[in-house]
Symmetry: C2
């Protein structure tokens, strides 16, 4: 591929990134290009961990901030190459999140002496399992690279500030029974019939609305899978309802487990995945200053993001990036040229204040 031109403009750079495929697990070429482009900048100290690239200024500021974005995308859906229509840049990853990556790369190139020292993190495998996530690998092998006072993830947030994030818990709620031939069904106990109680409880459940730091989070509890079945002539002895619980930052992961377990006292509950929420941290001075500089009203982040990973490291974090989060992972995803430009300008203003 052609070398990345960080000096052109944010729209051209986003297109160049979109047109360099980087589905999760196949980020090598794009990571190489990002590493090469950053290594040409004498004010940056560049490190590589797997297919993630970290570039740091060392201007001696009292505070250090992380600007982070993932390099990978979900699989293509007949949405390449990029194109521009009606003020929108369309194509795989345009929204999630090569627009944000372009903004960060442009900022890295343009500001040799920012107002805060900056650590730029471009990482792999955000769209797949947590153990493959580039941030997990960096935190494990080079935790020093992530040290900071504040982190900004340039995930699509409609060019607004999304603070904190909700936690997520996945669990299997298991109804059991006793097999029998369906011609003599009364000799068994139908586990799928018993699962009606689980599903009805989910149908009746009303997610709590919880205020934290002035932001209202809305919880949700959903069945995301149901499986039962031995054969068409057998009363099933097991029915597994997989539930996903999105919980507000006032609950710890352990409290979330206790809550879901308590909803189904007569069934076995097996937790299969658990990631903590992150508090918005709006009262922390570094976050308050950033929100003030960006000049937008913070909103609660309902989905789980890598913000929680920084929160676990003790680093307040928020999402701020171009693109409508509702378009992420859709074949028609796009980012408006307006948001690309605005995000770049606002971040640059903050880092030169």
């Amino acid at each position: 591929m052609a070398a990345l031109d960080l000096a052109s403009d944010v729209v051209s750079l986003t297109r160049q990134l979109v047109d360099t495929p980087s589905e999760s697990g196949q980020e090598a070429a794009l990571a190489d290009a990002v590493e090469a482009a950053l290594a040409r900048l004498p004010h940056l100290d560049v490190s590589r961990v797997g297919h993630s690239v970290v570039a740091r200024t060392h201007v001696g500021r009292p505070t250090r901030v992380v600007l982070a974005g993932h390099l990978d995308t979900v699989p293509a859906a007949d949405n390449l190459p990029s194109r521009i229509e009606d003020g929108r840049l369309l194509g795989l990853g345009a929204c999630d999140m090569k627009g944000g990556v372009a903004v960060a790369l442009r900022t890295a190139a343009a500001l040799p002496a920012p107002a805060h020292d900056v650590t730029y993190v471009f990482y792999e495998c955000e769209e797949v399992s947590s153990d493959r996530n580039g941030l997990t690998r960096i935190a494990a092998h080079r935790p020093d690279l992530l040290a900071a006072d504040l982190a900004v993830l340039l995930e699509p947030s409609d060019a607004g500030v999304e603070a904190g994030c909700q936690g997520t818990l996945t669990a299997e709620v298991v109804a059991t029974g006793r097999r029998a031939h369906t011609a003599r069904a009364w000799l068994g106990r139908n586990a799928a019939h018993r699962a009606a109680a689980i599903l009805q409880r989910l149908e009746d459940h009303i997610g709590a609305e919880v205020e934290v730091d002035g932001l209202t989070y809305r919880e949700g509890l959903s069945a995301v899978g149901v499986r039962a079945g031995v054969a068409d002539n057998v009363v099933p002895d097991s029915c597994v309802v997989t539930v996903n619980y999105r919980f507000a930052p006032h609950r710890s992961p352990q409290e979330a487990v206790a809550y879901v377990t308590g909803l189904f006292p007569e069934f076995e509950v097996r937790v299969t995945d658990l990631a903590p929420a992150a508090p918005p941290g709006l009262r922390q001075p570094a976050v308050a200053a950033l929100v003030g500089a960006l000049g937008c009203e913070p909103r609660p982040k309902l989905g789980w993001t890598d913000v929680a990973r920084f929160a676990e490291l003790g680093i307040p974090a928020l999402n701020y990036g171009p693109g409508d989060p509702g378009l992420a992972h859709t074949p028609g995803e796009y980012v408006t040229l307006d948001q690309l430009t605005r995000c770049e300008e606002r971040l640059r203003a903050w880092l030169t204040a």
Copy 2:
């Protein structure tokens, strides 16, 4: 394999059959042996259709009866070779239904001039899908071979008469919804939650008890499968509950469809399998005479059997054979030596009366 010795005794013959593996689709060797043994008997006219063998007497009796048994078994479960313990013959197919096949083969050899003309049918692939069933193939290619006034299937019935059989209907009841990210579950409609109504209705359903010809059939409606799930962070837009309905002989297949469809008026119902019930036909003279000769009280057959296939051809049919039907398809299946002997004696008495 050694030639089948139809002149020895029913227990030895059953062991020889059990020790000749004949899982569905692999009946060739056993069918060859059966065909060769029957072809040696001058009073029988032997035909072969695939791996099914039909042997007929032509004594000129006014009535003709079918004695039928399938040659195949379910897959082995570490239950070969056969052995005898405490008056039981154990091994794959001992109960379902090589004991019955042995009784029929012994009868075929022993009675050159039975009281009714007899058509012996030994057929393949009863344990698999209907289109592979040997009776289906014979009915399609040589329907003349099945012409009769009465059919006796030597399926395991605990050496009692099981009359008629219930029908079976399998259908998918489909709850639909609208996908959404679980972090904003309220933007979607959870199809699995809606399916609570389907499962609760099944849980509450009470199967009818229906009397036909003095026998009481007991219907049953069971969820036999549930499937829903897109991903652990997606509200599913479809939940499919597979139900199996066992219906008594007072309903036609069309009435069974109408009944199940009527139970779920707000959901789509797709029928995927449908087989008719068979009336017990106890008032038909040929059946009544047989039941009288066998000297046992008829019971209703709740499971579906090939009796229904004969009923569709207009031939009254019943099950009468050695072995506890509850042991069919279990690794420990067996048949008692007592039932083997008793069934052979009773059938022979009836056919020499």
